[in-house]
Amino acid sequence: MSIECKIEDGGKRLVIVVQGRFDFSQHKSFRDAYRDQTGQVKEYVVDLTQASYLDSSALGMLLLLRERAGDENAKVVIKGATSEVRRVLDIANFGRLFTIV
């Protein structure tokens, strides 16, 4: 599975792990990961440690998550992005929209 999720901190944190290529083919799986959350989640963490590639459709998916989190007053953190993935996030200046660690 390229997208896995884990619930932590008693339901307050949802970690979405993306493996391999983060592109349009992940669209549905990525959305399914957070779609059914009932508003308990206060922090979404997108774990890109194992992601090898990120394109503009992935940036779009992150924006959708951000919109959702905004509706619920939750925070979105992007963690573990390395080299190629980090480069794409930096060029797009997504550090202004997300906490990137």
């Binding site: 394109d55 503009s56 459709s57 940036l59 779009g60 998916m61 924006l63 959708l64 951000r66 919109e67 190629e84 480069r87 794409v88 060029i91 797009a92 200046n93 997504f94 202004r96 929209l97």
Partner: protein
Amino acid sequence: MQDKTTQSADSSDNAPRGTAMIVDDEATNRRLLGAVLVREGFHCLHAADGEEALAIFEQQTPDIIFMDVMMPGIDGYETTRRIRKALGGRFIPIIFLTALSDEQSLVRCIEAGGDDFISKPFNLAILKARIASMERVRDLYRHLEAQHVELSRRYSNEQQEQALAERIFSHVVGTRNAAIESLGFLQRAADTFCGDLILTARLPDGGLRVLFADFTGHGLAAAIGAMPVAEIFHAMTAKGADDLLLLSELNRKLYTLLPADRFMAACLVSIPASLQELHLWNGGMPPVLLRNSEGIQEFNAKALPLGILSDPPEQEGLVRVKLKGNECLLLMSDGVLEATNARNELFVDTGFDALKTTLCTQDILLTPLIQALDQHCGDTVQTDDITALEIPITEELVHISADADTTHGMQAPRTSPSLGRWQWSLELCDGYLGAMSSVQGALGSLKLLDGLEPHIGALEIIISELYTNALEHGILGLDSSIKSTSNGFELYYSERSRRLQKGIKGCVFIELIYEAQPDEGGSVKIKLRDSGPGFAVTNSGFPPQNNLPPDAKRPWGRGITLVRSLCESIRYNDQGNEVEAVYRW
């Protein structure tokens, strides 16, 4: 004789399992099988030989066929072969009924195109079971065929939509671009067409503005966004809107139009006609490269792409770069950096750094880029659009005394100015000092510039330069000599912002007087007066006296030199806070 007809006791309404065709030269056999099939829910068609079977088959398509092997005339094998051929890719189960029991005959049945065979006399239970099995296979085929038809239809629709998007892109979006021959351009689309956008327009003063953009998505999705962007870009540039205003409007439009996951990464470059500086804004695009006499300067994206946040782009994202001459700009889409080779390595990680070093000493940047890219990619098929634009910053970019068309970027009807005169004046004070619009912006809608299109560029340059001097030197008291030091340029403009924001007291008065002259001539007298203290004659930086030669060591004086070359005369009063210039044709 009844047996030879195709009629049977029941009609198709009572035949839930469809129509069966029985081909057998023995009437008894036909009757027997017919009775069984009718009980099973079939409507039966009878044929006494192969010819008749083919004739019936031409009229109706049965859902299942029972074929005898030994018949006079064309035998069962041949009849089956012909039926199969006529069916093409469609499928109807054909079950052979044969008294033959030898292995070879049975194999021949299948080779001729039969799907199964049952020995005569047949076992009822086995017959029913085999019919059911054949129907399952047939239904599967039908389902597959229906899906195929649907898929073909949708694919064909999508091809049509792509063709439409391509047409819109090239005809609606591209045709209003100002044609500038010195620009170098590379475009390799990954799909049927490229989603990257390049727009060019003349600034009111004859300079150049370029928008280089990349939408998320391809095809029709990108084309939809490109249309309003092109409209806004051309309309606002023609009206003299400044960079930040244009970017704000583009952002606002895209924010409203596009869904949350779609946006437009873009670079905006404005090069005023004086070629003294350029303005650059990079929102989410790869670094813009500027090759000057010292090497390569990179301008990374400092701003977010457009259409993501409702907030307008910030002043900080707009970079002003001093130009000294001999510069060349290179813009690239992310498809260039992410171009892959056979080992799945990206261009940015392999040949890009070497390319930058090479470019330091090149006049033309696009050719070495293409070479490096081709060397890297080889035969590997690329999945993203590759677009690059080269802007050599030379006199060729500027088009001052132009035809009506290039100034507006559109085909505009040529009108003649009316005979007579008009006088227009404006005074901007205190907080409104920064608000000077272009002449086109101020007077265009009053129709006072109709027929004067060839001269609007020159007028823009003159008024912009004189106003800038009045504001920056006369009122804000900025010292131009700051601009000559290495980071002085940035210092100068940030100080300018600071002083404007702090709130300054002062006025600039502008007056334009147009008078038609005989033989389609005309003149515009331009007067500016600022409330500043003026300048002592001994001030070495500014103002230039009427008879001082232009000084190459003072590049900030280049603007006034240009103005002087355009005007018939230009005079300052003794105090230095009032200037009158005359432009005549």
